[in-house]
């Protein structure tokens, strides 16, 4: 149980840490727009309006463009960044809440097991006419 409690505190600490991590971009702040992360030669770059259309061009055609810089992962815009922050906060908050309730469930399951509640011979339910039938 001590190990499980430690995990619970790890989950709580991670909630705070990941929210802080999500609040900053994965790379130094780039200009908005997904294409900002891929540098292409000026002559190969399609017009901005065309680039804004998602999946407008097949990937093979994209391959013809000569990238000069590696693609660095980053949020495409402020909306995506906000969505990720909210998602991570929600994720760790949910994990913390779920872990708390699971811990209570574990405690109860262990208590029931130690009391030999489901063992017909030693169950405290034996002889109790109000208790439901064993083996249900």
């Amino acid at each position: 149980m001590r190990g499980i409690r430690i995990l619970f505190f790890v989950a709580m600490a991670s909630l705070v840490l990941s929210s802080l991590a999500a609040a900053r971009p994965a790379v130094p702040q780039a200009a908005p727009g997904p294409q900002a992360k891929v540098e292409v030669k000026p002559e190969a770059a399609p017009p901005a309006a065309q680039k804004a259309k998602p999946a407008a061009k097949p990937a093979a055609k994209k391959g013809e463009e000569k990238r000069t810089e590696p693609v660095v992962p980053a949020y495409s815009d402020i909306r995506q960044r906000s969505a990720v922050i909210v998602f991570y906060f929600w994720l760790w908050f949910s994990i913390a809440v779920l872990v708390y309730f699971l811990l209570q469930w574990v405690k109860e399951a262990d208590r029931v097991y130690k009391a030999k509640y489901y063992e017909p011979e030693e169950s405290p339910r034996k002889g109790n006419p109000m208790a439901p039938a064993l083996g249900e």
Binding site: G3, I4, L7, F8, V10, A11, S14, L17, S18, A21, A22, A26, P34, Q35, K37, V38, P54, A55, A59, A60, K61, K62, G63, E64, E65, R67, T68, E69, P70, V71, V72, P73, A74, S76, Q80, V84, Y88, L91, W92, I95, L98, V99, L102, L103, W105, V106, A109, D110, Y113
Partner: protein
């Protein structure tokens, strides 16, 4: 219309015969002792496997395993598709987590001697799963098709060539020719998404069935002393604890994927010289360093040949460990434990050395 859930469940049960499985689960017990924590690593591997499958399918929708399309399609996934970079990062990091936990699972089983009779087959199927997981990582490493992955694959696929008689054929089979080309990429993609998943599922089912058949091992000293070890019901006590660990691991892998998302290098040039500092994935580093320390020639044979033979003997020794360590409670068993610890230290030290 009111649906009678009991009738609905009974209909399924009649056809799928689920009751015996549920009954087995409620009666299954897990030993509780000082090393029980290692029992949780098995199910954690399954969690990461599921994440791999889900994110892998999502990436496969857009990935193109062609010379022109591979790097460009990943660039597109990372830049144009909503949160594509994050999905790729989760796929990459969950692979790392999975292999790390697979290795912890193996080392824990090795040091607690869980492979002893009657669990020899469980150990051997587990070893097969480790090899398949590493091949998954190796084939996946080429798919971004950047300079680093191309060079690492050239080095990696050249290693079997040192094996006498069949070595050259194995290298040619892996590459789909004499050199790493677009054919290699297609071949690796098919291995990564078709063949290896089938293989891993077949072995995994066998491994899980064997674990269920033989049950979980108890510490050797308790078995020798014929002491009864306290147990915990699998359902719900053990499963609930597992779920807590899964949740924390899930949060951790998602957080790491967000903070340390991998970038994508420039598209590989087949004619370009290998870039400096080519290194394989971290789980191959100790093998890579082992190959590096041998000189080019050692008498009538090459150093690479000697290294490959030593590595193969090592792998075989680990694979057949249950038969080598057939009396684990004796002095021989203790010597094998020390050798196992030495092997783990060797792998860690050589991996660090390779990074320096």
């Amino acid at each position: 219309m009111k649906i009678d859930m009991k009738k609905f469940a009974a209909w399924f049960d009649e056809r799928l015969a689920l009751t015996p499985i549920f009954k087995y689960m409620t009666k299954k017990e897990v030993p509780q002792h000082g090393h029980s924590i290692w029992y949780y690593t098995g199910s954690s591997i399954l969690l990461f496997l599921v994440i791999q499958i889900v994110t892998g399918i999502m990436l496969a929708f857009y990935y193109q395993p062609t010379l022109d399309g591979a790097n460009a399609s990943i660039a597109r996934i990372m830049t144009e598709l909503p949160l594509g970079w994050l999905i790729r990062s989760i796929h990459s990091w969950s692979a790392t987590f999975m292999i790390a936990i697979v290795m912890i699972h193996m080392v824990a089983s090795m040091l607690t001697k869980s492979y002893r009779k009657p669990r020899e087959a469980t150990w051997m199927t587990g070893m097969m799963l480790i090899v398949v997981s590493m091949v998954f990582g190796f084939t996946g490493y080429l798919l971004p098709w950047d300079d680093l992955s191309l060079s690492a694959t050239k080095v990696g696929t050249n290693i079997p060539a040192a094996i006498p008689v069949v070595g050259k054929w194995v290298t040619q089979f892996l590459r789909g020719g004499d050199d790493v080309t677009g054919d290699t990429l297609t071949r690796f993609f098919i291995f990564h998404v078709c063949i290896l998943p089938l293989v891993i599922f077949a072995i995994l089912i066998l491994h899980i069935l064997l674990v269920q058949k033989e049950g979980m091992s108890v510490p050797l000293k308790d078995e020798v002393a014929k002491r009864r070890v306290p147990v915990l019901p699998f359902w719900p006590n053990f499963v609930l604890r597992e779920v807590i660990i899964w949740l924390v691991l899930l949060g951790t892998v998602l957080t790491v994927s967000l903070v340390f998302a991998p970038s994508l290098g420039l598209s590989a040039d087949l004619m370009a010289p290998a870039p400096e500092g080519v290194k394989p994935e971290w789980y191959f580093l100790f093998l890579f360093q082992t190959l590096k320390i041998f000189p080019a020639n050692m008498g009538p044979v090459t150093g690479e040949f000697v290294a490959v033979v030593i590595i193969l003997i090592g792998i075989m020794a680990v694979f057949f460990l249950p038969f080598i360590d057939n009396k684990p409670e004796t002095k021989k068993g203790r010597v094998i434990t020390y050798l196992s610890i030495l092997g783990v230290i060797y792998a860690i030290v050589f991996s660090i050395w390779s990074l320096l």
